[in-house]
Symmetry: C2
Amino acid sequence: MEIKNGGIMMRIITISREFGSGGRELGKRLADALGIPCYDHEIMDMVAEKYGFDKNYISHVSEKDIRVFYPTTIAHRLIAPHLMTQQSVSIAVSEHQLIQELAQQGDCVIVGRSADIVLREMNPMNIFVYADWQSKLNRCKNRADGSEHFSEKEILKKMKQIDKERAAYRSLFCEKDWGKKESYHLCINTSGKEIKALIPAVADYVRLWFGQE
Amino acid sequence: MEIKNGGIMMRIITISREFGSGGRELGKRLADALGIPCYDHEIMDMVAEKYGFDKNYISHVSEKDIRVFYPTTIAHRLIAPHLMTQQSVSIAVSEHQLIQELAQQGDCVIVGRSADIVLREMNPMNIFVYADWQSKLNRCKNRADGSEHFSEKEILKKMKQIDKERAAYRSLFCEKDWGKKESYHLCINTSGKEIKALIPAVADYVRLWFGQE
């Protein structure tokens, strides 16, 4: 089923990404190139504002706290109640509701938040962004501000941990694995490449994929 | 190290593909869009002609006979001699030599033949083409001529077998797995899509990837 808004097919693009691969930058730049909004961290702020949660707490549990009970029709694994916290349940449900509301408003790019699964009934185009360890390490080092002093080993450990959490979060309500190419329509390896330089072609690809050119 | 020919960086694109995903068509059309040659089945004919092998026999062993000994610097797994045939060794070595010669002549697209590994010192751009089972099945049915009558079950079995052989062939001389996104620069899911419609964007992506735009 293709969801249409006023007769025009909606272009919903989701970006899943390995930590340090430049996926967030790719999402933002792609949205700019297509002239549509991009939702990333903003989603957490919106959830906090709309549902009255504490912003810092949301930031802590979102995509990190895998002890989430997800009692909707798209859930297929229910986690044992003793592993859950009521608030993390509420946040996940609120976040997913907001993602659906945002997508129903019109074309957009959504980064992370397992949006490819949350929105699957809207037939989004799902992109996965990845890179080799060295490129991800370089990207993390370049974007760290002067006050952060982590060793390469510490950064690598953190990168692996975050990707593991993303995969675990997704696995709660979807059988298709996070990061496996079969779960996505296009997988982009950014190793050694500038994201900015690739954007015009990625934007073209998205337009052609939605048959709007 | 970037191999250059007359001072211009060479654009070598390799296409690896799941059987039935449309990878061959994508390779041919991409080469046309870029105005460069595409080598696919022709390679086997050239090997037969150049080295005096029987065409039918080559067609039988190429990418199918995994009992190949590959005694060059890029080999990392040597198969027990009792599993080899001398002729399959000769054919694989000849094929790989020819692929290197073709690539050194100038920009080109090479489909299959583990060209991404054979040419890795020339820094090719490596694309993987895949699709879901239903799309691959439909593609296989559509391209079968009237004289072929296979059941869906038979086609699926054949598809799996061919992909398995491709993966096994590659595994002889490379640690990076066939079909894993980490082994490629771009992975394109053709499920439910017309290859032709996607080509302009893929060609753009290749041009940008090589920094020639």
